[in-house]
């Protein structure tokens, strides 16, 4: 009982020290909040479909079909079409401003289609642009597909007319049928796609996708500060003073870890709270589930802190090695981008990190609208990881300064 009281008093003392230290609050709250806001506002338009991509177009076609195609692209949501010359198209530059993609329609485009020949659209791309190129090329390919479908329909129509009136000029029939068919092409499509979000969070915003990842990363940085604090206590003799007092070692470390755990919970709660009340971040439909995930993440991160403190000899090492490990874990574990875009082997490696399991659980709750029972496996894995890290850390930590 005495040792529990001492554990509590050590925890309260550490909390008081952190409360008085403005530098800690900058790392724990202001920095993550700033990074989350920047990432959310910067990437939000792209992720939420509000970003407009510009496609340069050179239409050399003498007939109407080329114009029909470029008009069709101009009506595409999220796409702006800008006319260019051949030279500008090849250089992907107009008046000093660079563009990512340009489509060139050949001069015999309409006539080739009307006479039943195949034709080609030439597309110039910026090889360094991996972000908008798939979208722009996809748009051109979609428009080309729709056009090919329409041309096929016109050809079928011509063939049917020729069955009943073989003396008819096929080019004349095609010329008559083409405008009607192309009007159909640019009008309402007979088959359209309705996109729905899975789960309960129908209107996921950027804070939903960015806040958990960065929060977990900065939680780990906060814990790294705790590890440095533990080593500082050892170096400056305050830990030694506790060792010569009647305080059991588990009570000393337990108190310090308890304080770090409370700080981690507070940090996540404040970040999610600001995200929710100020920026409209969703918290999912299971608050108990989110509480469990935050708790398990804080527990495991705290255990990582003691493991870090036990694995290094100096505070400088804790900073450098800790920063390296946290950045690697964040990159591998999905704090910066969705784990799902990584190759399978990277996803497997990523699941060796705290970040991956924490984000699997949090994303399931916040984005996919899963319930308490659904995230129990992730919580269990975090708990096991945390216990392992604690046991190894407690075994290896050197209480005495060398």
């Amino acid at each position: 009982m005495k040792q529990l009281r001492r554990l509590r008093d050590i925890c309260l003392k550490d909390l008081l020290i952190v409360a008085k230290d403005r530098g800690s609050w900058i790392v724990l709250l202001l920095t993550p909040l700033a990074v989350i806001m920047v990432a959310s506002f910067a990437l939000g338009p792209a992720f939420e479909g509000q970003l407009k991509a510009t496609l340069l177009v050179v239409n050399l076609d003498q007939g109407a079909i080329g114009r029909q195609l470029t008009d069709s692209l101009g009506q595409t949501e999220g796409l702006e079409v800008r006319e260019a010359t051949e030279a500008q198209c090849e250089a992907l530059e107009i008046d000093g401003k660079t563009y990512k993609t340009c489509m060139m329609v050949p001069d015999d485009f309409s006539s080739s289609i009307l006479t039943g020949s195949n034709t080609y659209l030439t597309v110039y791309v910026d090889p360094s642009d991996n972000a908008s190129r798939p979208f722009l090329v996809g748009m051109i390919q979609g428009a080309a597909s729709r056009l090919s479908g329409t041309v096929a329909a016109v050809r079928v129509s011509v063939a049917e007319v020729l069955k009943f009136a073989p003396e008819t000029d096929p080019v004349m029939v095609a010329t008559d049928a083409a405008p009607v068919a192309f009007q159909q092409m640019s009008g309402e499509q007979p088959v359209s796609v309705d996109v729905s979000s899975s789960g309960s969070a129908k209107d996921v915003n950027m804070f939903d996708t960015q806040a958990p990842g960065y929060s977990v990363m900065f939680l780990l940085f906060g814990v790294m500060l705790g590890a440095e604090g533990l080593l500082e206590e050892r170096d400056k003799g305050t830990l030694g003073r506790l060792l010569v007092a009647p305080v059991a070692r588990p009570a000393i470390l337990g108190g310090k870890l308890m304080a770090q755990f409370v700080i981690a919970i507070l940090q996540m709660t404040i970040l999610f709270g600001i995200g929710h009340f100020v920026f409209g971040m969703h918290l999912g439909r299971s608050i108990p589930g989110l509480v469990l995930m935050v708790g398990m993440t804080a527990f495991t991160a705290t255990a990582f802190g003691i493991l870090l403190a036990s694995a290094v000899r100096t505070r400088r090492q804790a900073t450098s090695i800790g920063t390296l490990v946290i950045i690697l874990m964040s990159a591998l574990g999905g704090s910066w981008w969705p784990l799902s875009i990584e190759p399978q082997f990277m996803q497997t490696i990523g699941h060796l990190t705290i970040n991956a399991w924490a984000l699997d659980g949090m994303n399931a709750l916040i984005i996919n609208g899963k319930g308490f029972m659904d995230i129990l496996p992730q919580a269990a894995v975090l708990f096991v990881m945390g216990c392992g890290a604690y046991l190894i850390g407690l075994r290896l930590f050197n209480f005495r300064s060398s």
């Binding site: 005495k2 009281r5 001492r6 008093d9 003392k13 008081l16 020290i17 008085k20 230290d21 400056k236 003799g237 305050t238 030694g240 003073r241 506790l242 060792l243 010569v244 007092a245 009647p246 305080v247 005495r400």
Partner: protein, 313 residues
């Protein structure tokens, strides 16, 4: 009656032996001084007595409890004032004391009263709500000392408590130590400042290279050099002629003669009486004296006499 009995304490680190078979006893109510240069093994000895370090060999009993077998009981009896300022710099003086008091199960009014008593003792009650980081080095040392006294330890270990402090704080620390001694607390005091040990300690042990090289009261220790004084001579010839030491030893009042680094160190019951015959003998032997110094014995000279080097080397 001894409160502390240390027997053959040893501490080894790989190839280095920091403390090499140290034995001593400390009587209850005594201020026992460890004097020695940095690296002599004083702090390591305190670390073992305070149960911070496990001895590599030997043992010590504090109030009958073994530091190796009963460290938890020892911790209740001892108080330690480490050489480092082991305080939390962003907490106030009273927050630090309250925290350490709670580690010794003090609480409520008893803790409040004790904090006030100690802050008044070290003269910093008015600064109780100031952060430690705002204090001078001397003030930090005084709070550092107060933190080791919260639980009324029977045996207090002070490890170089005046390092880096201003003269005013040093005086304050000395006054505090005497008050603690007067309250019945037994004190182990380490320092490499000879004057402090001479002033404060009832019994002195001189350490060098992990070993006790001499121990006793100040009077007993100084008697090793000679009660009346020491005549130290440097001569043109580095070595004395054969038989000169024996002849000098027979002169009036001379108690010992020793050659050290080309100098003759002559201890005497009365240096004023011994000097003329000594000089006559040297003149007769053809030795030319280039430098002569007469001084009263002190710990600094004793340390040189015993180890061949200065205390602050």
């Amino acid at each position: 009656m001894p409160l502390v009995v240390a027997e053959n304490l040893v501490k080894r680190y790989d190839q280095l032996t920091a403390v090499d078979g140290v034995s001593f006893t400390i009587e209850e109510g005594q201020i026992f001084g460890f004097l020695g240069p940095n690296g002599a093994g004083k702090s390591t000895t305190i670390s073992m007595l305070s149960t911070y370090l496990d001895p590599s060999g030997g043992d010590a009993l504090i109030d009958g409890f073994s530091i190796t077998r009963e460290p938890r009981k020892v911790k209740d009896i001892i108080g330690v004032v480490p050489q480092d300022i082991a305080l939390y710099p962003t907490l106030t003086a009273i927050q630090n004391l309250r925290f350490y008091g709670k580690m010794y199960d003090l609480g409520g009014e008893e803790l409040d009263h004790r904090c006030r008593e100690l802050l008044e003792l070290v003269g910093l009650w008015d600064r109780r709500d100031s952060r430690i980081e705002q204090f001078s080095g001397g003030m930090k040392r005084r709070i550092n000392m107060a933190a080791g006294l919260l639980h009324h330890p029977r045996f207090l270990m002070l490890d170089e408590p005046t390092v880096g402090v201003d003269p005013q704080s040093r005086e304050h620390i000395f006054e505090t130590i005497f008050k603690i001694r007067d309250s019945g607390t037994t004190i182990l005091y380490t320092s490499h400042y000879m004057e402090e040990v001479e002033l404060l300690c009832d019994y002195i042990a001189i350490m060098d290279k992990g070993k006790l090289v001499a121990s006793g009261t100040l009077k007993e220790l100084l008697a090793i050099l000679g009660e009346g004084g020491v005549i130290e001579l440097e001569m043109s010839a580095p070595e004395c002629p054969e038989g000169l030491e024996a002849e000098l030893g027979r002169q009036q009042g001379v108690t010992s003669v020793k050659q050290q680094d080309g100098r003759l160190v002559i201890s005497s019951k009365n240096s004023a009486h011994s000097l003329p015959p000594v000089l006559r003998v040297l003149e007769g032997s053809g030795c030319e004296v280039t430098h002569l110094e007469i001084y009263k014995p002190n710990l600094e000279k004793l340390f040189i006499h015993l180890t061949g080097k200065e205390l602050r080397e």
